[in-house]
């Protein structure tokens, strides 16, 4: 893992994408997240909005943008459930912020690093989700860490395919 010094941060490339990519990719991720579990008959162990949030946060290397994107995606996901709006929002806000903050300090061109980050941030998101439900809200929520682990693995697998595809869409000078 290459850790960059402070002087090198500004020299890092900030990725830019066409406006359509910014609009369509998150929306497609949200739609597919809502539709694919039907097709997979309950084996939907993935979180496409989180994968997309992590990708753009790492690529843009801007914590504010990462935080806002995470919040937007999380709130949207919450709106599709029957739970209170904000649980996923908080979890993905933190994930977006962490991904963008790490992206400033670490060379995220390395594919392995990105996949590892994706895996870890998935587990962080699950932990925050559990913390909010059980501790902050005091709700009775049955939990299965095995499912969350499978979800983290699923996210990494999807990221392994999706990240190189999205890399091709970036605008190069």
């Amino acid at each position: 893992m290459t850790v960059l010094g402070l002087s090198n941060r500004r020299e890092l490339e900030v990725r830019r994408y066409p406006i359509l990519i910014y609009a369509l990719v998150p929306l497609t991720a949200l739609v597919l997240q809502a539709w694919l579990p039907r097709l997979l008959h309950g084996y939907g162990w993935f979180d496409l909005p989180l994968v997309v949030t992590v990708y753009f946060a790492l690529g843009r290397r801007n914590p504010v943008q990462g935080t806002l994107m995470g919040a937007g995606m999380g709130l949207f996901e919450d709106a599709l459930t029957h739970h209170a709006i904000g649980v996923n929002g908080i979890a993905k806000t933190v994930a977006g912020f962490l991904a963008a903050s790490v992206g400033v300090r670490i060379d995220v061109e390395n594919h392995t690093i990105r996949l590892t980050l994706n895996f870890l941030l998935s587990l962080v998101c699950s932990g925050i989700y559990l913390f909010i439900n059980r501790i902050l809200l005091g709700l009775d929520l049955e939990w299965s860490w095995v499912t969350e682990l499978l979800k983290a693995v699923g996210n990494s697998v999807i990221a392994a395919v999706l990240f190189p595809l999205l890399d091709r869409a970036q605008i190069r000078d």
Binding site: L27, L30, V31, Q33, A34, W35, L36, P37, R38, H41, G42, G44, P63, V64, T67, L68, A71, L75, F76, E77, A79, L80, T81, H82, H83, A84, I85, G86, V87, N88, G89, I90, T93, V94, F97, S101, Y129, I132, L136, L137, G138, L139, D140, L141, E142, W143, S144, T147, K151
Partner: protein, 423 residues
């Protein structure tokens, strides 16, 4: 000051967003009387608006994908893959006919039940009207087992309507949008349906667990509960009509929180993970719908026609039995003889043609071989010609010829009747 905001801009944005969402959560969750927290059953106007926007954005895309999938599927099944359709159609038609007859008898029972319930002042509600809807999407979260239907307020859907399939119950409508609706599945942790175990008659509340399996909770430990027992709706929750299939008991586990209680894990009758078409019960009434009444009438008509056909068939058989000489026992006493009190008098050939009011007596065919096994029947009574192996043509001789042969072996008046082998 300016430099403070600039320096900590990232962190401040994060904190503001987190604070706003935490306040939002605090508004949506409330304490119950038992001291536990729960989500508000009905969303506030602000929350509902956010859900409406999200739904308006996602549902059209989901509908488009679903329609495209259905279109391709229909193209294949409706136009290309039509093998065995004719046979299937015939099988289905037979099934419909059979079910109609069953339905007619069952609905008669149900009508009688209604009359009795009316006498007792209790009225059971029946499924009166349903709306067919397609499941087009989910929440996308394992923690929230809800799915979306392609019908909404425009189709007459309302919150708390029961959603079922032909196999069993599925869930209840939670939120209704103009053109779609959100359904809370029975395997969600926050769902609740009153159920009863068919054999043991133990009642409980059905809700989901973390693994997405429906389970009956709050049941006292009972060794009679065995895997395979059917679980039905109890009808006390004012959502699901009584007696709908829920599933079967899969296993019984100890309640982790209470010692003397158990959780009954249920294998759902409906395929909750692969739902496609569902029925939303939009109306329940203590009477049958016009469609059901029409079905009963059709079934009754079919039943009448079938009964007439059976009667006609029986009549034709009787006529055939009377007219075909081979089917009438030439040794049977004539009807006139019976009427005049002369039992045992052998009948004549002319008596065969005479219509008899009494049911035809089964004819004992002449023995083809010597009966050496019946006690008291000496082989000498059988003519020598009969003891010889008969040519095959004689067996296949016309009935008129065959009729005369048994005259040799016909019992004489006064002889006790002996059982004969009819090989």
């Amino acid at each position: 000051m300016d430099s403070f905001f600039t320096r900590y801009r990232n962190l401040l944005v994060l904190l503001v967003l987190l604070a706003a969402q935490i306040i939002g959560l605090a508004v949506q969750v409330r304490r119950t009387d038992s001291g536990r927290s729960s989500y508000d059953i009905a969303d506030g106007p602000g929350v509902r608006l956010i859900r409406l926007w999200a739904n308006a954005l996602v549902t059209p895309a989901e509908r488009l994908i679903h329609d495209a999938k259905l279109g391709v599927g229909n193209l294949w099944t409706g136009y290309l893959d039509l093998r065995h359709v004719h046979d299937q159609n015939q099988d289905l038609q037979k099934t419909i006919d059979r079910l109609r007859l069953e339905q007619a008898s069952m609905l008669e029972d149900a009508k009688q039940g209604q009359r009795l319930q009316a006498l007792l002042g209790f009225q059971e509600k029946y499924i009166y009207k349903t709306v067919v809807a397609q499941a087009i999407g989910t929440s996308g979260s394992n923690q929230s087992r809800v799915f979306y239907l392609d019908k909404g307020k425009d189709a007459g859907l309302e919150p708390d309507m029961a959603v079922i399939t032909a196999d069993g119950i599925v869930g209840k409508v939670r939120e209704v949008f103009p053109h779609s609706a959100q359904v809370l599945a029975i395997n969600d942790q926050s769902s609740g349906a009153g159920v009863i175990l068919e054999t043991t008659r133990i009642r409980g509340i059905l809700r989901g667990n973390a693994a997405g399996q429906p389970q009956v909770v709050g049941v006292m430990a009972d060794p009679r509960i065995k895997p395979g027992e059917k679980v039905l709706t109890a009808g006390g929750d004012q959502i699901f009509p009584r007696g709908l299939p829920v599933g079967v008991v899969e296993k019984v586990v100890r309640d982790p929180d209470r010692d003397s209680f158990i959780d009954v894990i249920v294998k759902p009758a409906a395929y909750l993970d692969r739902l496609d078409e569902v029925l939303v019960i939009t109306s329940t009434e203590p009477r049958f719908s016009a469609e059901q009444d029409q079905d009963v009438a059709t079934s009754e008509a079919l039943k009448g026609a079938e009964a007439a056909a059976i009667k006609e068939q029986q009549k034709a058989s009787q006529i055939m039995a009377e007219r075909l000489p081979g089917l009438t026992d030439p040794n049977a006493p004539a009807a006139g003889a019976q009427a005049t009190g002369k039992p045992g008098e052998p009948g004549t050939a002319s008596a065969v043609a005479t219509p008899v009011a009494a049911p035809p007596t089964p004819k004992l065919l002449p023995a083809q071989h010597v009966d050496r096994y019946s006690p008291g029947l000496a082989p000498a009574t059988v003519p020598a010609s009969d003891a010889k192996p008969q040519p095959r043509q004689q067996n296949a001789a016309p009935a008129g010829q065959a009729k005369q042969a048994p005259a040799k072996t016909a019992p004489k008046p006064g002889d006790p009747a002996k059982p004969r082998r009819t090989q």
